[in-house]
């Protein structure tokens, strides 16, 4: 412990090889996550300063091929259905390549409309027309609008009210009002408030209470969990730590122990990071492990913006406020 290093080259090779695993059944069974997967991989590479590992033009073409003409959003893969989660991934990828203009104004208008159409009267968002409501979608919706510079008071105010209703006494947030606190929801709620410049709608007591709850997520082995009495998992290195960072309290957990935990989840042979030591790696845990390390200032990584889960070099162009 303590002497392990981030295996940068191995991780770059691992992410770079993801699209060459077509002889494995898992590759085909995960098609419904492909566009998200490309965003996770690209962001991991970006943090590792190796974005050229992906062929820019091929990736942009792939994103555009995921456009769903029926909904006006991006799907996970051609011929699948548009959804807010994948629409955000598509925009994130285009923004990373500074290629948002490739969308074209007609599609951009349709996409904004798709996001707006999924807002409910109480300010919440559904992921698509099938009606699942979750604070994850408030985040994805506001992040999409921010990337496209389309945030307005009409959308933001009710969304902020809805987020306030999802706050729980213990300092966490649920996926709906009256739902148990979960660390991923802390990120989506605080991240959404940060995107629209509304963190000040929380009282100082609330902010402190949130940071206390998040700091309790660190377990003696160094890793973070998502709820009380659950196992640690590398992805919470992102959900918990990014939220603490947004609140200016990242140091309320122990960096050195969390760093050890993440580094112990690397596959030393083939690269990639898993949820817990000695488990199977995947690109989701790889990006969130590296993202967590970036927040903790791990040497040689690009600095990540905790609000957007993208490097600052990309997010500095995004809209953070809007005219009242």
């Amino acid at each position: 412990m303590g002497q392990k290093e981030l295996l940068k080259e191995k991780h770059i090779n691992y992410v770079g090889s993801l699209d060459s695993k077509k002889a494995d059944l898992e590759y085909w069974l995960s098609e419904h996550l492909r566009l998200n997967g490309v965003y996770w991989g690209l962001t991991a590479l970006h943090l590792l300063d190796s974005i050229d590992t992906f062929n820019k033009e091929e990736v942009i073409e792939f994103v555009l091929s995921c456009w769903d003409e029926n909904t006006g959003g991006f799907a996970a893969y051609p011929r699948h259905d548009g959804h807010l989660l994948t629409t955000l991934s598509g925009l994130q990828i285009l923004a990373t390549f500074d290629a948002l203009d490739r969308l074209g104004s007609e599609k951009e208008d349709r996409l904004v409309n798709f996001v707006l159409c999924n807002q409910k009267p109480d300010g919440s968002f559904q992921g698509d027309s099938f009606g699942e409501v979750d604070t994850r979608f408030v985040y994805t919706a506001l992040s999409c609008l921010s990337i496209l510079n389309k945030l307005t008071k009409e959308v933001v105010d009710p969304a902020v009210e809805y987020i306030a209703r999802c706050y729980n006494f213990d300092g966490g947030f649920g996926l709906n009002p009256e739902a148990e606190s979960h660390a991923a929801q802390a990120f989506t709620c605080i991240g959404a408030l940060a995107i629209v410049g509304k963190l000040d709608t929380l009282t100082n007591d609330q902010k402190e209470n949130i940071a206390v709850w998040l700091s309790e997520r660190q377990l003696p082995e160094g890793g973070l969990n998502g709820r009380p009495s659950k196992l640690p998992d590398v992805c919470y290195s992102w959900w918990v730590l990014s939220t603490l960072a947004i609140l200016g309290k990242a140091d309320w957990i122990d960096f050195s122990k969390l760093t050890d935990f993440i580094l112990n989840c690397q596959d030393p042979k083939n690269g990639g990071i898993s949820d817990r030591p000695d488990n199977e790696v995947d690109v989701f845990h790889t990006v969130f492990g590296i993202g967590g390390l970036s927040i903790m200032g791990y040497p040689g990584l690009k600095e990540i913006d905790p609000v957007y889960c993208m490097p600052y070099t990309v997010t500095k162009k995004f809209q953070r406020s809007y005219a009242d």
């Binding site: 699948h80 148990e180 122990d254 790696v281």
Partner: protein, 327 residues
Amino acid sequence: MHGIKRKEWTKELLRKKREEERQKILDYQQLTNDVLNSKRERITDKNAFLKTTKLLDINPEFNAVWNYRREIIKTLSLQLDENFWDSELNFTMEKLKVRPKVYWIWNHRLWCLQSYPNSPLKIWLKELAIVSKLLEMDSRNFHGWHYRRFIVKTVESLSGRSLNSDEFEYTTKKINQNISNFSAWFQRTTIIESMLSKDQISDMDSFINNEFEYIKNAIFTDAEDQSVWTYLIWFIKESAMKNIMEPELYSNMVKALIENIVLINDDELSFSGKDNGWCLKTLIVLESIQKEYLKEDIQSKSQEYLDKLITIDPLRKNRYLHQLKNL
């Protein structure tokens, strides 16, 4: 991927795996292609429906196929009787048993219940029993508890009867089975708030007292578990019960909690030589209630507690330093 052990793939193993999977991949690609093509052509017949079954059997996480399946069912709905809907519910249950954490499957199941002919009360009551079973398999399943709240709300609106007291008993049962089940403790907080707002508690004094005893019993049972401490803090600091109690009674209750917690901590100190972190953290909260809310003149030990916490719980050292500054 969550919780799957990493496997060492030797060249030979990998070759074997790929050989075994080659045909499976071809079949899967063909079926996927077939289903997505008929989806694009908006074919909504029985045959297309059967193909979605086949595909979801292989990959229950394929959300676009669940979406397509619903489109087909909607088109065929006039020809479908209760038997169909029962079998569709069975189909989603099979899938949930294999993938209990996949949002799309829970959503589809909910849609089935809402689309069931006349969506009668009896199927929702049956569903409540089913979700109890699911929560026996995994008593912390986040989706399961979320789903349960939805089912309860629907049963309440269809029957015109509040289920609060049943659900309150349910959380007691779940907590008694496993005191660390924070999902159940959390649910208890929302049910009590709802009972209070609907004026459903006839003997408030004894209700509050029972809850107080229940908490006391729990902290003596397992002083290491944060669920109980979190619930205790809710009860004494955040819940609407605080505003109902006579100030004197409330003040005595805070004192009694402090005495008991000090006792637990002393026991642990003499037994293991270490303070109990949760005891100290809770004592700090209780002292702040005495000082700031009850305006009582007390000999605060919060500084001492925070100093101890820095030593016994160094992971959160910076938080305690921050709290020390703000005392």
